[in-house]
């Protein structure tokens, strides 16, 4: 005959406890589960991504209706328990009386509402449960809604980032001198504040809230110094307090939390408690990992197995804000403590290890937390680090002078190193799961729970997979750039942005390139990515360019070059033709060819003649046609309304306008355009990177065509009625391509990866994004829209670049 177990509270701790209990013994108890919220157990930590719009509530449910039914759990959700009658071993709720043999209290915490006038106005809410999230999402729907978050700790910042992502104007008020002062020291707190302010979130530290104003809804928050901040929503994230009223009313021993012993038992022999509502050994917990430990202990206790709760070392990692942050142990100053600090403010990296008696007792790491697990392990083991003190701060890859292996960090972790902090899963557990057949992240999540809570350890789990499976591991990602690195193009582009890397050596340093100088594949790619990312600051590295782009001419099989001046929109003049003919004569050009790009190519020019022929062409008003560049090549046209009886618009005029805007720009690969005057499409616009067909009512802009090794028709981008819109779409598309595509992917390859919908959202649908893209293109063009021939023909390049160092043919006869 099974005993009656009543559980008050359906949060994460109670859910885990029931799982563990059922795993140990499915028949020990007849379980009734009460929860004040009108829903079952869900992952409260993931409320932040739900608030940010990154996940749905359904995705964060941990136990669904099927699970309760299968396990025979009697669910009483939305029913608050109001009293515990210990003498009669029963609880009283809105639904009546329920008897118990054993009772578990898991009532969690309640948001602390700071005691100021107006804290009960509608619109002032906590951030604790799904109802709070719904209230916040409703408030966020109001256009340009203002949110004030009271409390700049973990929870407050998660709320701030999520609401900001939902489009609200967010201000964070924090009482202390810097954000997250429980986990961060002032320096790291400052970096975090800068990061958030950089995103548009206002942060006010040392902010003492005086009152909250409003008539029948919140309207503003007033600080003690007189500042008034408008608010449509106020989120109380100033702390949580254990929810202990029901225990206090029942005369259980309660201090800050419900007092429990190592077996999670309260002062009543038939009542246990776990989770945020308890106090164990003077400590009240607000992070999930210790609560899961309590769940394991209580489950065993309930089936009379020995188990003791031992206060764990905890660490925190910040999640939804997208900030890389790790904190563990003690970090306050004290006499016998020393510290090792690594600081690189420009990159937003700050690492601080706190030592006492040659042991790590705490760590605060901001911006580059890849080694945090390794430091945490040393902290937990209490090992003496004197031997590695000099290189300690650089992490495991720099100890003992071993060759760098990107998986070394995880390989260096011991079997009981913690990989998943939320669920307390160590490396050994994951390795065992892999040996038992779990060969991908999803299976490991399902079988071990690693990465199943906040998800920030997913990368580490994949690394354990990679090390354990070796060659059999199928990385879900694409190939690396080249033999110099394991990283993909996308990885490196992201890292360049994230760490503000502005030189090729800095990328190679940061990303641990296998070679000191890269190779002919990666250097041009890196050079391009930085030109695209930092147009004003990065100086183009000529020595990392392929010969054609370095010399601004196309190298031929015999080391001579071809020179192709630009013919805007395929139009020329008698003077230009004469200048080309004269240059062909003067420089003994062996071949003159009319190209598919609607211009003329002079082939077979000697290298040392380049500056001179350029000067001659410049003198005739002609500039480089960039026939050799990964940049804008040509804008072909057919004659429109100027002459053609079928012309619907001035296609040639438009083509020339576009060419004059785009020329000189560097792109991931060559870009060729065409503008046709009517749907007969004589300029063959429908196989170009961007093609425009003029029609009576406007311009049909299409993209992502190709007519080289592959023949691909363009996809429609949009039809617009004005020439300016056609130009804007073209420029915005080019800039989007520049910012996102992999080096050497033509637009059609890139569009195949990202999809036309994604492209249209940014170039067509969102006028703000389109305008921003055009602006950024212009910023880049302020540097690059100029004639390279004119630059290189300057005297300072003459002798240094084009002539031989020495001519020994004159001396050989000696």
């Amino acid at each position: 005959m099974s005993q009656k177990l009543v559980v008050i509270g359906a949060g994460m701790a109670s859910g885990r406890m029931l799982e563990e209990l059922l795993e140990l013994d499915t028949n020990a108890y007849d379980i009734t589960l009460f929860g004040a919220e009108p829903r079952g157990n869900y992952n409260r930590i993931m409320l932040s991504p739900v608030l940010a719009g990154e996940q749905t509530y359904e995705e964060i449910i941990t136990h669904d209706a099927d699970w309760y039914r299968t396990n025979g759990i009697n669910c009483r959700f939305g029913e608050t328990v109001v009293k515990i009658d210990r003498a009669n071993k029963q609880i009283i709720s809105a639904g009546g009386i329920t008897e118990y043999d054993k009772l578990v209290i898991a009532t969690g915490s309640a948001s602390f509402f700071i005691p100021v006038a107006g804290n009960d106005l509608p619109g002032v809410i906590g951030f604790r449960d799904f109802d709070d999230v719904n209230d916040m999402l409703s408030a966020a729907k109001k256009p340009a809604g203002k949110a004030v978050i009271i409390g700049g700790g973990l929870l407050g910042l998660e709320a701030a980032a999520a609401l900001h992502q939902q489009g609200m104007d967010v201000t964070v008020l924090h009482l202390m001198g810097h954000l997250m002062e429980r986990q961060l020291d002032p320096a790291a707190g400052y970096l975090l504040q800068k990061e958030l302010e950089g995103r548009g979130i206002e942060v006010i530290c040392q902010a003492h809230t005086n009152a909250i104003f409003g008539n029948d809804h919140v309207e503003a928050v007033a600080l003690e110094d007189g500042t008034i901040i408008d608010a449509d929503l106020v989120v109380m994230a100033a702390g949580i307090r254990p929810e202990t009223r029901i225990a206090t009313d029942a005369a259980l021993h309660v201090e800050r939390g419900i007092i429990v012993d190592d077996e999670m038992q309260t002062s009543d022999a038939n009542i246990w408690a776990l989770g945020e509502c308890v106090e164990h050994d003077g400590i009240v917990y607000g992070l999930v990992a210790p609560l899961y430990d309590m769940a394991k202990v209580l489950a065993r206790t309930l089936v009379n197995e020995p188990a003791k709760f031992i206060a764990p070392e905890v660490s925190t990692k910040l999640k939804v804000t997208g900030v890389d942050l790790f904190s563990a142990g003690e970090f306050g100053d004290a006499d016998e403590r020393e510290e090792i600090v690594f600081r690189d403010p420009a990159r937003g990296v700050y690492k601080r290890l706190i030592l006492e008696n040659n042991k790590i007792i705490g760590a605060v790491i901001y911006g580059d937390t890849i080694d945090s697990g390794w430091f945490f392990e040393k902290q937990k083991s209490g090992e003496d680090i004197s031997d590695m003190r000099e290189t300690l701060i650089y992490g495991p890859a720099f100890q003992g002078g071993e060759d760098y292996n990107p998986l070394a960090t995880v390989a260096a972790l011991s079997i009981d190193a913690e990989i998943c902090g939320c669920n307390g899963i160590c490396k050994g557990t994951i390795v065992n799961a892999i040996s038992a057949g779990a060969h991908d992240l999803a299976t490991i999540k399902a079988t071990t729970k690693a990465s199943a809570s906040c998800g920030s350890c997913a990368g580490l789990v994949e690394q354990v997979l990679a090390i354990t499976l070796g060659d059999e591991f199928e990385a879900p990602t694409a190939q690396s750039i080249c033999g110099c690195t394991e990283l993909t193009h996308e990885d490196v582009r992201q890292i360049i942005k994230a760490r503000s890397l502005k030189s090729i050596p800095s990328i190679m340093q940061e990303c641990d390139w296998a070679t000191s100088c890269g190779c002919a594949t990666c250097r041009p790619a890196l050079n391009y990515y930085m030109i695209a990312e930092w147009p004003l600051e990065y100086k183009d590295d000529a020595q990392s360019r392929f010969v054609n782009e370095r010399n601004h001419a196309n190298i031929q099989k015999d080391g001579t070059y071809s020179v192709m001046p630009r013919m805007w929109g395929g139009m020329t003049t008698p003077d230009e033709l004469r200048a080309i003919a004269d240059a062909a004569d003067k420089y003994n050009v062996p071949a003159v060819h009319v190209t598919g790009g609607q211009r003329i190519d002079l082939l077979g020019i000697q290298r040392q003649d380049l500056p001179a022929i350029w000067a001659d062409l410049n003198a005739a008003g002609m500039v480089s046609g960039h026939a050799y560049s990964k940049g804008l090549r040509t804008v072909k046209t057919c004659v429109g309304t100027d002459f053609c009886r079928f012309g619907t618009q001035d296609s040639t005029g438009l083509g020339i306008k576009i060419e004059k805007i785009l020329w000189g720009s560097w792109t991931p690969h060559k870009v060729k355009l065409a503008v046709s005057g009517c749907p007969r499409n004589c300029a063959e616009a429908t196989c170009k990177d961007i093609g425009i067909i003029c029609v009576d009512s406007g311009y049909e802009v299409s993209v992502a065509g190709a007519a080289g090794m592959e023949l691909i028709k363009t996809e429609p981008l949009a039809k617009v009625s004005s020439e300016q819109e056609a130009i804007d779409l073209t420029v915005a598309f080019v800039q989007l391509y520049r910012e996102h595509a992999r080096y050497l992917d033509r637009p059609y390859k890139w569009v195949a990866k990202v999809g036309m919908d994604w492209v249209r959202e940014r170039v067509v649908d969102d006028l703000g994004v389109r305008a921003a893209l055009c602006t950024r293109f212009e910023v880049s063009q302020s540097v690059y829209r100029k004639d390279p021939w004119a630059e290189l023909a300057k005297p300072e390049y003459e002798s240094r670049k084009w002539s031989p160092l020495a001519d020994l043919t004159l001396e050989a006869a000696e």
Binding site: C517, S544, V547, L805
Partner: protein, 111 residues
């Protein structure tokens, strides 16, 4: 018997780049690596005589601009799966000046 000729200043060659010395049997490419080591090899790829001086220099290797053969500057040998090599010449760098040993160059003519 060496025949050292002062060719140029080290700074006349861009780092990770090359310039050429004309000789009657062809050009000799003088390379300067990122750490200021200088190498001299024939400016003609063993594959199809591409101008190695126009290739991208990485470490102490250069990638031929025509068909991407990688040539080691020290030995003159093609790397990886490719076979073949180019002649190399002795270089001395002294007080920021590059000295080229032209003895082998000249002897080619005399013969």
């Amino acid at each position: 018997m060496s025949n050292w000729i002062d060719i140029a200043a080290l700074d006349d060659i861009p780092k990770r780049g090359a310039r050429v010395v004309k000789t009657s049997h062809g050009c000799v490419a003088i390379f300067r690596t990122i750490d200021d080591k200088v190498f001299a090899i024939d400016d003609a790829c063993p594959h199809k005589k591409g101008p190695l001086s126009e290739g991208i220099v990485h470490g102490s290797k250069v990638t031929c601009p025509l068909h991407n053969w990688v040539i080691d500057l020290e030995s003159g040998l093609a790397q990886g799966a490719d076979h073949g090599g180019v002649a190399t010449y002795e270089i001395l760098v002294s007080s920021g000046r590059i000295m080229l040993d032209t003895s082998r160059l000249i002897s080619k003519l005399v013969a």
